[in-house]
């Protein structure tokens, strides 16, 4: 392992708070009902192909992703489809979901449940991509971009590096860390599969220095696999962001408004690599994922949760009844979103659930901007959050576009560092949304 690397511009150092690190992954019991939203990944919502009253098996396809950027969705339990109705999801609105009443856990034929490590890759490149599509694999880092789209390289482009994201720079979250410790071998095979699909001979796993055990384990194991290298990274948020990770690992900068393939890189999360391994070697669709439950004073841990499990079931399982929870965050504290209800189900993009008591759940008072420029130096994309905030406040969308509001990765570093507690990220998100709308109408 060579020296530690990191990205150059901006970044912040929030408290790590990794209380649940090294807690073994526990499988939680099946919930009474699962609520599977039909829109779980980036892109178009999937189209349900089951009807009310139908009996479905675990792993059965229940909604088909028909658009180009869209993913298949599979049933996560065996049971009867109770209804297809609106159900609240992490977006804060009611969206269509397939509600299944659990009976038992009978897996669809063809899916192998095994803890054996199967190393031979028998499928060809095309077969791998089509199977990943069939099994509904999406990026498990949080953005939920369908993996089959990401690994289908557009014509005229060539991938040089496969970058595996094991950074987990968000405070509190430990699900990827634990996965790397427990399923290291499987992740490495998954990386080999992805390398074959992408036709690259070099893969780099980036892991931050606060996970020395994971670095050591993967470095030792990766010696048996050709072309996989493990690189330690200095502690800095947001190192897990795609563009920052590429900068840190291979020192290339993704041009504004372009995708990482432009500089010959494809970035995948370790969780995705594990899901790919299971899909290719054991035909297992993406119906469960590792979720961290954490928070100050919270009995937490890393849990293997079926997609569609209501968050309430997860909280109940851990037994945190003595706490007066005021705020629940879906995801990490920096980029995650507060939830309004515990009926919200765990989806493919849920990496963590954080519970906070009153003491930690409120924002600080907002003061006037003192032009200290901390947000400018913290921005990892080299933007000027203060200008963007002002532009959005006065609805000057042209100015916001001119100052590259669309390049914001919404990491929240500016909001975190602001001594006046200004809602910089809120305004920038709104600006991104509006500017995107304007650009879309312009295209027509």
């Amino acid at each position: 392992m060579s020296g530690l690397k990191t990205f150059s511009i901006g970044g912040v150092h929030p408290h790590e708070c990794k209380f649940t690190a090294k807690k073994a992954i526990v499988t939680i019991p099946l919930p009474e009902r699962v609520y599977i939203p039909i829109s779980q990944s980036l892109g178009a919502p999937s189209v349900p192909i089951v009807n009310k009253g139908e009996r479905v098996k675990t792993g059965q396809l229940i909604a088909k992703g028909e658009a180009f950027i869209s993913a298949n969705i599979h049933s996560s339990v065996t049971g009867i489809v109770e209804k297809i109705d609106d159900w609240i999801d992490s977006s804060g609105y009611k969206k269509k979901a397939i509600i299944i009443k659990t009976e038992n856990d009978e897996w669809e034929e063809g899916i192998i449940i095994s803890n054996e490590i199967k190393k031979d890759i028998t499928l060809s490149k095309e077969e791998i991509i089509s199977k990943i599509k069939e099994k509904g694999i999406v990026g498990l880092g949080g953005a939920t971009f369908p993996t089959h789209v990401k690994i289908s390289i557009p014509q005229g482009k060539k991938a040089e590096y496969l970058i595996i994201n094991g950074v987990e720079c968000e405070p509190f979250l430990t699900s990827d860390h634990q996965l790397m410790l427990e399923k290291a071998e499987q992740i490495l095979v998954g990386i080999q599969i992805l390398m074959k699909a992408l036709d690259v001979d070099k893969a780099i796993i980036g892991i931050e220095e606060n996970k020395p055990d994971a670095i050591e384990k993967l470095t030792n194991l990766s010696k048996n696999y050709k072309g996989i290298e493990v690189q330690g990274l200095k502690l800095k948020y947001p190192q897990g962001a795609e563009k920052q990770l590429i900068k840190a690992l291979v020192n290339r900068e993704v041009p504004s408004g372009k995708l990482p393939i432009e500089v010959g890189c494809v970035v995948q999360n370790v969780g995705t690599a594990y899901a790919v391994y299971e899909a290719i070697q054991f035909n297992k669709p993406l119906i469960e994922r590792v979720v961290t439950l954490s928070g100050f004073g919270v009995e937490g841990g890393n849990f293997l949760v079926r997609i569609g499990t209501p968050i309430q079931a997860l909280i109940d399982y851990c037994g945190n009844k003595h706490l007066e929870i005021e705020k629940i965050i879906n995801g990490g504290p920096m980029m995650g979103k507060s939830l309004v209800s515990t009926e919200v189900p765990v989806t493919k993009g849920t990496s963590g659930i954080l519970l906070f008591t009153k003491e930690y759940s409120h924002r600080t008072k907002i003061y006037n901007c003192i032009r200290c420029g901390k947000c400018v130096s913290a921005c990892p994309m080299g933007l000027e959050p203060i200008v963007l905030e002002k532009a959005v406040e006065i609805s000057n969308w042209d100015l916001a576009e001119k100052y590259h509001v669309l390049d914001c990765i919404e990491c929240g570093s500016c909001h975190y560092i602001c001594p006046a507690g200004r809602p910089l990220l809120d305004m920038i998100r709104l600006g991104k949304n509006k500017v995107n709308q304007i650009i879309r109408t312009r295209g027509n």
Binding site: S91, K94, V340, D426, N433
Partner: protein
Amino acid sequence: MNEIIYAFIALGSVALLFATLIFFVDKKFKVVEDPRIDEIQEILPGANCGGCGYPGCRGFAEAIVKTNDFDKLFCPVGGNEIAKKAASIMGVEVKEKLPQIAVVRCNGSITNAPKKSIYEGATSCAFANYLYAGESGCPNGCLGLGDCVVSCTFDAILINPNSGLPEVIEEKCTSCGACIKACPRNIIELRNKGPKNKRIYVNCINKEKGAIARKNCNVACIGCGKCVKICPHEAITLNDNLAYINYEKCKLCRKCVTECPTSAIVEINFPPRKTEIKNTNEIEA
């Protein structure tokens, strides 16, 4: 002494040269503008609110002179009076338009739609709408963060601190439509002001199924369709679990107001009902 004379002659001749140059340039490149544009601009309110759909009053005046189409062009602030004046300048007749007013179609006040969560983000309805369904949980209801208040150039809309909902001040509202564009949830609508300012409208835009809508708000329209049946003028239509009263057809008979089980239909500026007075008399007797 001579120096002064030389200077005088030199500067004077330069001035004369440029004066003639400017004179010919002015004659040659003169911009001919219809004098009526200035005349019409003079009579317009000059608020540059953009309610007519043009960038300011000058743009509107130019559009009038260019198209002379008084059916489509209307200054909501000036109203019929200005339309008449402008028409007389243009030498045409105009039909009178009924005065309109902005109407906030949500009654999800703090008591009617209790808060289920606390919002601490940026004070912007547009952002809150982007983020989630709102504090009451109603995905169509008013967020109460005042984007409409900021947009109003006439101070005609204010948030009532008791209810948390915006209220339109009738005397000040010019029906320019700025608040309608500002509201991310399309709650505000322009409706006819009505005779003696009397209005009846459905005070809700929630399109969820009845039971779900009622969970978040006591006064939501549940789409029961009772008002549609009782309306003698066929003014009410029901679409996606939501009733809508067409103000062109409504004769203000108030039958729907009493029929509505959730009091989602409201009447504004009506005198108290006679029947109600009778009822109370009976009770007293």
